[in-house]
């Protein structure tokens, strides 16, 4: 188990390293240099050279990369944007929690709901709840979250006044309103994942229930609830894997949802940066997203290693 954990962590770090390198290369290789963006088209060559020298942009790319990496790893410092001069740490620190809250709530709610639905669906095959679960699965997978958002806004916020059509009231000011304004975004964000996970739980549990060791469990006379627990212990492994992957993906799709609901999260930071051609900010934000993604995958792998010791042994 420990060796598995170490290996996975090492691989995740390797992953982040490769990705950050690729990202860095990409942002540094675009034709529009930060100097030109900041100083404008009228800038003289003299001014550009000076700018580059001031910001360390005249050094070889690999040297710049190592410097950037060192700042990031040892100082947890993303530095200041070349284009806007603002401190990127603070910008991200302001927006990251907002996105994180939406994703976390959507993720937890979807996970609980889908595991419950999937389990019931597998236990009571061909019952009404099974059909409901399968319907949700098909719809959730096919109706894109952002369209669902538009439809729900039309339905709930325009025709009825149940949920606000956008924005999030701060929690400290008005908790109830804050929670209400989270309902639609989280619902739209989690719908795809809910569908995928319900289906996965169902098929995984069905498969496990037919296996030999479940027969042994029943032959031992174990209480039906414990039999279910025995089954879930095994059936949840693929579910955890998908959970990890999906958390990262949801973090990405939150971008679109935030745009629709006018929420001031990471998406705003990214899109504003793109608009302002602030490529160092783009790089920083994408790095954050990737970090979350890799981190979620890592946690899922570790949880799986704990759940299923055979995986840990084989790794």
């Amino acid at each position: 188990m420990v060796s598995l954990a170490l290996r996975r962590v090492a691989f995740s770090l390797f992953s982040l390293l490769v990705v950050s390198l690729v990202l860095f290369m990409l942002t540094r290789s675009i034709p529009d240099s930060p100097a030109r963006i900041v100083l404008g088209d009228q800038a003289t060559d003299q001014q550009i050279v000076q700018f580059d020298r001031d910001h360390g942009l005249d050094r070889p790319i690999l040297v710049q990369y190592v410097a950037w990496l060192r700042h990031l790893v040892f100082g947890a410092d993303l530095g200041s944007s070349f284009t806007t001069g603002r401190d990127m740490n603070r910008q991200i620190a302001n927006t990251l929690p907002v996105t994180m809250e939406i994703v976390a709530i959507a993720f937890i709610a979807a996970t609980l709901l889908s595991v419950t639905l999937g389990t019931l669906s597998a236990l009571y095959r061909d019952s009404p709840i099974d059909y409901l679960a399968r319907l949700i699965a098909v719809l959730g997978v096919s109706v894109p979250g952002f369209w669902l958002a538009l439809v729900l806004i039309l339905f709930f916020a325009v025709d009825r006044d149940w949920f606000p059509p956008g924005g999030i009231a701060p929690f400290s000011e008005d908790p109830a309103s804050h929670l209400l304004s989270l309902v639609l975004p989280c619902l739209c964000l989690g719908s795809f994942y809910l569908a995928v996970l319900t289906r996965m739980t169902r098929s995984s549990l069905l498969e496990v229930l037919g296996l030999d060791y479940m027969r042994t469990a029943r032959a031992s006379g174990l209480h039906p609830v414990r039999v279910l627990a025995y089954a879930l212990r095994n059936a949840l492994v693929p579910v955890v894997t998908i959970g990890g992957v999906s958390f990262g993906h949801m973090f990405g799709w939150a971008l679109i949802i935030e745009q629709i609901f006018n929420i001031d999260g990471m998406s705003r930071a990214l899109l504003t940066a793109i608009q302002q051609r602030d490529y160092s900010m783009v790089q920083a934000v994408v790095m954050m997203f990737t970090l979350v993604f890799v981190g979620a995958n890592l946690i899922a792998d570790l949880v799986n290693g704990w759940l299923n010791p055979r995986l840990a042994a084989a790794a």
Binding site: A219, S220, R310
Partner: protein, 320 residues
């Protein structure tokens, strides 16, 4: 308590539904006395495993007992509600299966699996149950039971897994142990060890055992009585020595002839020609007739009567 421990009367099991319905076990009678070791022998597909699963009420979905009675300790199991049957499983009747690797939960330590089984049927307290788990592991011949109880199934050898399964089965002191081909998946040397262990357990705990196998030779060692199954029915039964010495059914006779002996001269080994019939595809008349070396026209057209003597039976025209 008087009367046999297990009495199966006219058990029939069918699979599928509607147009696909086929009988896989027909009209089986079995009797096991307390403390007796009985074997159920037959080829693959003879219905022996399904008979055992029917007794445990663990038939797979789509397969159902269609008629008959299974009277265990005075109670007809087929009439019991689900919860009552669940209470008896593990506590009064237990079963060990053929492939111990797939039969043990891979994500739960083996000690925990035994612990849970004991806790379900008895209240020995936490420490008491843990002690009992280690006692059981030692009883089935596992060294270092304390360390081993934390192991997972895939960390153990085949023979050890089978011992663990046995420990799991006898954990609550059942009266009847059903062993479904427990040694088939094991190496020959390990087979012998497991058989010895089972015999010892049986003796020490006073268990009755229903031993299922396709290997006549193997069961002769530890069994008192044998039931021979072919194509879903019992074709012969009786005390093991008499069956071996003077079989009354051609199937039993031909089976015995196939067992290799060291004093044979060289030459082709005897076999039973042909294949057993598929489920639901039984010929008219005796099911074994197409492969029987003593069959005649009557055998192929009319079902044979059951010849009986006290303690023996054979379903053959020529039994007498």
């Amino acid at each position: 308590m008087t009367g046999p421990l297990l009495q199966v009367d006219g058990l029939s099991v069918a699979a599928g539904s509607g147009a696909n319905r086929r009988g896989v076990v027909q009209n089986v009678d079995l009797r096991i006395e307390r403390g007796e070791v009985v074997s159920l022998v037959g080829e693959s597909g003879s219905g022996k495993s399904l008979t055992a699963l029917a007794i445990m009420q663990l038939l797979p979905s789509g397969v159902r007992a269609s008629s008959g009675r299974i009277v265990f300790d005075g109670v007809d199991l087929l009439e019991l509600p689900r919860r009552a049957m669940n209470e008896r499983r593990g506590r009064d009747i237990a079963m060990i299966f053929q492939d111990p690797l797939t039969a043990l939960n891979p994500t739960i330590p083996i000690g925990r699996q035994i612990y849970d089984c004991i806790r379900t049927h008895a209240d020995l307290g936490h420490r008491g149950t843990l002690t009992r788990v280690e006692e059981l592991l030692a009883l089935v011949g596992i060294a270092h039971p304390h360390e081993r109880s934390r192991a997972y199934a895939h960390e153990l050898s085949g023979g050890m897994r089978q011992r663990v399964m046995t420990a799991l089965a006898i954990a609550c002191g059942p009266k009847l142990l059903i062993a479904d081909e427990p040694t088939t998946a094991l190496d020959v040397t390990v087979q012998a060890q497991i058989m010895t262990m089972l015999d010892r357990i049986r003796y020490e705990l006073g268990l009755a055992v229903l031993f299922i196998s396709h290997n006549l030779d193997l069961v002769a060692e530890i069994c008192d009585r044998t039931f021979v199954m072919y194509a879903g029915s019992v074709v012969e039964s009786g005390p093991v020595e008499t069956l071996f010495a003077a079989p009354r059914h051609p199937y039993t006779r031909q089976l015995l002839r196939c067992i290799p002996r060291l004093d044979w001269a060289t030459g082709p080994m005897p076999t039973i020609p042909g294949l057993p019939p598929r489920f639901g595809d039984l010929p008219a008349g005796c099911a074994f007739a197409p492969r029987c070396d003593a069959a005649d026209a009557r055998c192929s057209s009319e079902k044979p009567p059951v010849w009986r003597e006290p303690g023996r039976m054979a379903a053959c025209w020529r039994a007498a």
